[in-house]
Symmetry: C3
Subunit: 445 residues, 3 copies
């Protein structure tokens, strides 16, 4: 995990350019905008796509028809176009039906959506599963609309047979057991709560691809939120259950919060759950944690549903509900920074590296302690600690070796050793690799 300055600059430029390309696209959970967005991502992260056709019954859900959107305009009684979706994708109720009608203000009012306590923000509102039409508008603009005369509402859109599309890409490792890294793309023109996820996912893909070795395989998944992860479970649930030993949803990873936070999986005992609980116990400057809850959140709710109980948590930085711009037009690149995405990728990569190596290391010389001096791991002249082990860092490394060997009966994970010993996972890993080179331990996937 070297700090490759060149690569980091390239990474910044790549994410920045992709953001600008993806932000303006008129997206939804289906349709051309979704297809175009995932096509662009696939140039860098080669997803294979699976399809679930419209109207298919998927568990308790029915896959909706594709939404074909053309334009949306609201014209005031004086004939002036006062709302136009070509100005902001958020202006139209996502999944609006077609309409061309004259209405009084009172007839129009139920079709206007605003946020009373955020007078300048255009809300992001959807109606996927019930036919409706409408416009999203700032409260300021709404307050100024004339009450008299007839408005004209013109929305051109259609619903056609199509599919929900789930993209999967697997980086194979030594074990076929997988870590699931999943994010969603469906919201149009929202930054933190939309593009931050797929962009950090891409950064992680590029980084993990370069690791010297991968003990586990890494499954990257992209889909529209909720219905997409439900379709993924429908298509691949059995395989996911067999393979996924830990995983995380990526969402809201580009905000200004100082630290990323991890929401534990439902059962709270995945390898990553335990690593993060233990590894970062005394270092809350890096990753904070949140308890699992089925209220709020993202696709982890589907993966953790009782029928699957997959060990999937969630990473976020400035999470949904924690910032003014959540689900409205204030969620732009002004709020979300590319630097913050890269910092999120740094923290998550570090956690995943610990995941990849932080399981059970088995002591191959389990009967009594190995004779450490044979392996140049222990001073050959023993004088009660007054030898070259005196160097505090060397002393800590020797401690790590003794802990890893001493608890290496094949039942205790490195995370637990970190917990019990108070030693950091990073240093324990460094020493585990040395012991592995010397043939003293082996990793048990």
């Amino acid at each position: 995990m070297k700090n490759q300055i060149g690569t980091r600059m390239e990474e910044f430029q790549l994410l920045d350019a992709l953001f600008d390309k993806l932000f303006p696209i008129m997206r939804s959970i289906t349709g051309d905008g979704y297809r175009e967005s995932t096509r662009i991502l696939s140039e860098y992260l080669p997803f294979d796509f699976q399809y679930v056709d419209s109207q298919t019954e998927v568990f308790d859900w029915s896959v909706p028809d594709e939404w074909v959107f053309e334009s949306a305009q609201l014209i005031d009684p004086s004939g002036k176009i006062i709302i136009d979706a070509s100005v902001s994708n958020l202006h139209v109720l996502n999944y609006s039906a077609s309409v061309d009608r004259y209405l009084s203000f009172n007839e129009l009012r139920p079709h206007l959506f605003s946020i009373p306590d955020k007078p300048l923000a255009i809300p992001y509102v959807t109606s996927y599963y019930e036919r409706n039409w409408g416009f999203c508008i700032s409260q300021d603009q709404l307050d100024k609309l004339p009450r008299d005369g007839d408005y004209r509402a013109v929305i051109k859109s259609d619903f056609v047979k199509g599919a929900v599309q789930v993209g999967t890409c697997i980086l194979n490792g030594e074990s076929s057991k997988e870590f699931l890294i999943t994010s969603y793309i469906c919201h149009p023109s929202l930054a933190n709560n939309e593009l931050s996820g797929p962009l950090v996912q891409l950064a992680l893909y590029n980084r993990i691809k370069k690791w010297n070795r991968r003990r586990f395989s890494y499954r990257f998944v992209i889909n529209p939120e909720t219905i997409g992860s439900i379709c993924n479970l429908y298509l691949n649930g059995k395989q996911l259950r067999e393979r996924v030993v830990s995983g995380a949803v990526l969402t809201c990873l580009g905000g200004p919060a100082e630290k990323i936070s991890y929401k534990f999986s439902k059962n709270g005992n995945s390898v990553l759950d335990r690593l993060i609980r233990d590894q970062f116990r005394d270092k809350l400057d890096e990753i904070t944690t949140r308890a699992y809850t089925p209220v709020g959140g993202s696709d982890e709710r589907q993966y953790c549903s009782p029928g699957f109980n997959l060990p999937v948590g969630q990473f976020a930085r400035t999470a949904y509900g924690e910032y003014d711009g959540y689900h409205n037009s204030l969620d732009t690149k002004k709020f979300m920074s590319i630097d913050s995405l890269i910092s999120s990728a740094d923290s998550i990569e570090r956690a995943l590296f610990a995941f990849d190596n932080g399981g059970i290391w088995v002591n191959k010389k389990p009967n009594g302690e190995p004779q450490l001096s044979k392996y140049d791991l222990y001073s050959k002249i023993n004088s009660g600690g007054k030898s070259r082990d005196q160097n505090p860092q060397d002393r800590l490394r020797l401690d790590c070796a003794l802990w890893i060997l001493g608890l290496g009966d094949g039942t205790v994970a490195l995370a637990d050793i970190a917990h019990q010993s108070g030693l950091s996972v990073d240093l324990l890993l460094e020493v585990a690799f040395i012991l592995e080179d010397k043939g003293l331990v082996e990793y048990k996937n």
Copy 2:
């Protein structure tokens, strides 16, 4: 569980009248007083009785003969009757043998029982398993007795073959699994530590009978304390082991303490144990708790004995040992109020209702989340919480639904969901019933 004012007044009048009828009866663990008391109770709570004959070996015990009591008088050297059991049932040592003797004060002294630090109280003393005779007397009176001259002690009583009598009444529910509600009757003329138990038991019987549905069956048991519950285990132990999933002894439920308290069962993990630990976690104004102990207490000691290990706890309000009148003549209706009995019944009924419904609710649509909008459980227009879910109480109900569904894999009880989510059992139950109506969950007994 509607507040039926009419019923509550009837309940008060019934308990009050029964108290006055039961209090004066000369009771013991066997005999006419016991029979008369349980006959009166059976007019309202239709117990079936089982009998264990005198001298039967019951586990480590031997059932005593019945005590037939006629009269007890102590006559002082001047010929004055100074103690007469017809004035207070407590004046005679319960299970006294027959005697008619002249004795000096010093000869008499070992047969007089008083409480030195409660000068006005007549103690309640028994000698069931060793033949003895005696009088119970206030310390004040004892101090004033002349030391010279001969006293005459006259007790007319007999011991005859009879039986210990155990009453059982079962309210059947959907499941044959039972909650055991047991109390005792044997002490004569004591209020809180005697009649409070059977009277609250009767109130609970009347209330549970009126529930719309009972998922569990409710077994009501009455017996003399200790030997009675041992006989119950002797007669019905196998059945109790098969059926009883939780239970509680009722004792001392009419005192002035503000709250009732629950003594956990020995293993501390019955459904009721866990419900009360979790449900009332943050509401110690309703039910406080006590750890299990085999020291002190009542028949739960027998039910929890190692040979049976039944999950039986105990409810009390102002418990044995916590008030001056414990086991003496101060324990009267002045101390114990009917209002307090009704308040105890309210709290216990509420706990039992939670017991009846607070087990495992299984999500019938476990694969992914159900599409809640189909069930009118979730706003059909989703705008990040800014919809009609905004109503805080509705929001809480939606949270309850998501928790019940999200953890509904058939392994997690509602009590644990309350614990993990911080939501109240009452609200969770309310929502569980709604989900049940909509076919989304089913109760697993």
Copy 3:
């Protein structure tokens, strides 16, 4: 466990005399000094010896040749003998090879060992597994050595085929399950961190031999540290695994610390672990505790190694690393007192007595409570605690009886009852013996 004053004086005299005999012997992990030391101990604690020959491969180790030491002198440029191992055994690097060479100060320097921050102390240094030679010297003396001229280093020693020697002595008890009491002897002329262990071991042997009954067997083991316990595991590992249910290494038991401390075994749940955690919970004036760590410590590291996972902890008073004299010439009888050894033996004997009797007591009358009055364990006249049970100590004994009987279903150890009830193990044991005499309980080994 009577306080036999006569015996305690004899014990003091025995330990004192043995100390003086053992201290001056030039010991190492093999050879004549080791043989002489263990021969002396065997006069009082009849060990049987087993041998592992030099060069045998023992797990990851190879048994070293025996070290035959004759003399070691360093002569300064003026011809004066400035270091002579006949003055202090510590002056020669333990396991030094033979040498007779003239060297400049700079050539000599790497063969001189001192402790910079303890100017007066001669360190104890060893080089068992790599051939080397050297002198141990105080920093003060080292600083004053002339830098010019040639020194002569003369060490007469040899290496011969021999063996590592492990001594075992078993005191049989009712069960063949064993408690392992092990210590080491190998360091020459060190008091607390050497002789304290075998001397307390001897005191415990003499005391446990006199117990009225032993429910468990007691295995006493002596060996050179590390290589000796590894040889013990090599020779007897299978047997130890079958028999040892708990055990402790004895080390550093004669220092001035007020209390002994117990280092838990690796898994932390041996009978002794649990007893000490519970018994001394509220009495930290007697035994303090330390968490297990594979870093530092003594032979428990070998017994707890992953291949064996034996439930072996460690007792110490002023432990290695906690005092100035650790592994140097300050560790003498001035620092370590015989009184302290005896006090250590007192505390450990008390813990072992609790171990011997503190397991599972099974209630033989498990159905309901036994009728305690039949056994003279409960007042026959019951008046709510106002009987002869009023004596607070009697009341506590009755409480103990009720707890032991009430939790006696064969799954709960006395240690857990102590924990749950808050009663002391000592009093619980006293009552358990009474109940055993009355046939109410039996001990389950």
